[in-house]
Point group: C2
Chain length 178, copies 2
Amino acid sequence: MITGHVFIATSLDGFIARENGEIDWLLQHDQAGEDHGYDTFIRDIDVIVMGRGTFEAVRGLGDWFYNRPVLVLSSTLANQAVPAELDGKVRFTGKSPSEAMAMLEAEGCRRVYVDGGRVIQSFLRLGMVSDMVITRVPLLLGTGRPLFGGVQRDIALTHTGTRSFPSGLVQSSYTVMQ
Amino acid sequence: MITGHVFIATSLDGFIARENGEIDWLLQHDQAGEDHGYDTFIRDIDVIVMGRGTFEAVRGLGDWFYNRPVLVLSSTLANQAVPAELDGKVRFTGKSPSEAMAMLEAEGCRRVYVDGGRVIQSFLRLGMVSDMVITRVPLLLGTGRPLFGGVQRDIALTHTGTRSFPSGLVQSSYTVMQ
């Protein structure tokens, strides 16, 4: 059984990036020496699924920092070749979220890191997210790209733990009740 | 010096009520015996400021439960008489948030509970909120009336504490850096 997992940071008002995609505010809060658990989280992940917006934002940051295979869900990119420097690290697909999960399961993947606002929203709508770790940055942005939106029904969660950091980040974990 | 203070609950996706104003989902999570600190908070409050939306939502819940004077900021209600049963407990005013705060300060008020999404947003924009206690309910609503929105600039906060409850509520406190 393949499962989706979310690990993401947002501003206190729920944005994962500014309107233009910038995450300067997030990087500023990434204090040296503070372990927010990403390495532990990614250790158990087989593959990362994201949309084009997240892919392009991450590429724009410079060196490719994912150490897991990445599948980009994008009908726009599906017709293009993966950039040479990302060959073997990234695949593009025009498949739907459900089709993509079926493909990954057939390939032997078990745990999928679901990243980026729109893909997370799609996966939540489809009941394909098992748990979420949400880290709140102590900042109001006012506008930007929202983490949530348009789930179109109540989705109940079970809180499994919260910890806070000297930097002011507050990290809560939830399992999604399907 | 008069100061504004926020104490409010939101869904995990940042809504304080459904589109129609309902807070059924919030009341369901209000477990008997769990003290979320409201009584302690309100003890130091001199007056409560809210908008028409919050006033009407609270009236719709039945018995009036505020034990502090309430000032409703509403140009619509300002021309109307306060309902007889709320006489002495509630005032209506057409004043702006800044004018209202000046009036309350002249009356000797020091600590103002700022309640309701739109009024909180106005007060944040004007730099009239000193601190916020935000309690997250473990639920995604998808749509509704947002707590935040349109602050139009970054507002930095200092995290001063977080606690979680058996019900799954997570309560974080912040001071606003002006």
